[in-house]
């Protein structure tokens, strides 16, 4: 069975790239996108490893569905914070990232 290993490795790669992006990005919207992809990378590892037994393990599937729904909440709340910050301060970056323009 190589399919789960291929996808689990892709999940690790996605997680790492997105985590680095999340740490280094300045625009808050990009950070929100990166955070979503970090989640997707974790989900991919979980679901890929759940696909190894036959039939697939349903528990990680349920965990990931919970994660997807909580993820959309987190995104909506973060975007509301971003909109509020942009409306109040006119910038879409956090205060410590603004001096670079």
């Amino acid at each position: 069975m190589t399919t789960p290993i291929v996808y689990a490795s892709a999940g690790v790669a996605m997680l790492c790239i997105a985590l680095f992006g999340f740490l280094t990005a300045r625009h808050v919207l990009r950070r929100i996108l990166a955070l979503n992809i970090v989640g997707s990378g974790v989900f991919m590892m979980l679901v890929a490893l759940a696909a190894r037994p036959d039939p697939p393990d349903p528990i990680p599937h349920a965990l990931v569905m919970t994660g997807i729904v909580v993820g959309v909440c987190v995104t909506a709340l973060a975007l509301a914070l971003l909109r509020r910050m942009f409306a109040d301060e006119g910038s879409a970056r956090l205060p410590e990232d603004r001096e670079f323009g």
Partner: protein, 311 residues
């Protein structure tokens, strides 16, 4: 496994990683958002390949659809000026270098732990399958969500409600006036909206024995609401009726749990004779509430009397 299936898997995996790289390095955030939506759709293909059709449905409807609509809406409110980020890659400094090294270490550890898992490792699938006859449904993912892990799902609905409260509290800006949508979008809504309601009902019903369930149905219903909002903008506000409907799913779920305790059982431990009915009741109530919650997250809250669109 045949060679062409392996080729498809590798192609899809490489494409996903490439998309992540591109959308984190593009300077135009609008393009990055479009790539993010494409990434979500390809991810749901990957879930199908990993034999997780329930997750694929949820990803396509929520992860890609609703999240994409939310991000696009936020971009529109930021305007052309707010949506530009500097080009990548950024200058390498000590903080970025050490961050990169730490992330690379994490990746190596994760990769090693994935590869070193024993091949015969079965997770909890044997236990889940053994408990299936008592769960009241035949779709193992629905059984896990609503029966084996019902505490999680109950609290998840509470988290959704908290997110709505947060958005209502923060989002007090006047809405930019939307252009009148025109006859084509109107026609699309007229045809698609009834279909979406039917599909949501079907997904809810099918969840017991096939891929589907409350979350997927609610996401389709919410997508219909978002489409309607785009064609004919409306404001939900936080009227008491809206609040009641948003709390309805959680209340029904909690009430059933308390009833089971009063009846001599344990909290949310469905007796296997009535489990199917109870799960369907909880799911139906949750579908309505989650759909309205997702719609409220998109529509947001508008200051009273400000930013009303011209008719």
């Amino acid at each position: 496994m045949t060679a062409d299936a392996a080729a498809l898997d590798i192609l899809l995996a490489v494409l996903l990683v490439f998309l992540v790289w591109r959308l984190l390095t593009l300077s135009d955030l609008f393009k990055a958002t479009i790539l993010f939506i494409v990434f979500g759709l390809l991810l749901s293909l990957a879930w199908v390949r990993l034999r997780a059709p329930d997750v694929a449905l949820a990803e396509a409807a929520i992860g890609s659809g609703v999240t994409g609509a939310l991000v696009l809406d936020a971009l529109r409110r930021l305007g052309a000026h707010g949506a530009v980020d500097e080009a990548r890659p950024l200058r390498l400094n000590l903080a970025r270098l050490s961050g990169g090294l730490l992330v690379a270490c994490l990746g190596a550890i994760l990769l090693w732990s994935v590869l070193s898992l024993p091949a015969g490792w079965r997770g909890l699938s044997a236990e889940a399958m053994a408990a299936m006859p008592h769960s009241g449904v035949t779709n193992p993912v629905t059984a896990s969500l609503l029966n084996f892990r019902s505490h999680d799902t109950l609290l998840e609905i509470a988290v959704l409600m908290l997110a709505v409260l947060g958005v209502w509290t923060l989002d007090a800006e006047p809405k930019p006036s939307a252009e009148p949508a025109g006859p084509i979008l109107d026609l699309l809504v007229r045809i698609l909206l009834p279909l979406m309601v039917v599909v949501a009902g079907y997904l809810l019903w099918a969840g017991g024995h096939a891929p589907g369930g409350a979350f997927q149905g609610a996401a389709v219903l919410a997508a219909g609401g978002i489409l309607l909002h785009l064609a004919r903008p409306f404001y939900l506000g936080n009227h008491v009726i809206i609040r009641l409907v948003i709390g309805f799913g959680f209340a029904v779920f909690l009430a059933i749990g308390v009833m089971l305790v009063v009846g001599g059982g344990r909290f949310l431990e469905f007796p296997s004779r009535h489990a199917g009915t109870l799960i369907l009741v909880v799911e139906a109530a949750a579908t309505i509430s989650i759909a309205l919650i997702l719609l409220a997250l998109f529509v947001g809250n508008v200051r009273e009397g400000a930013g009303r669109d011209a008719p």
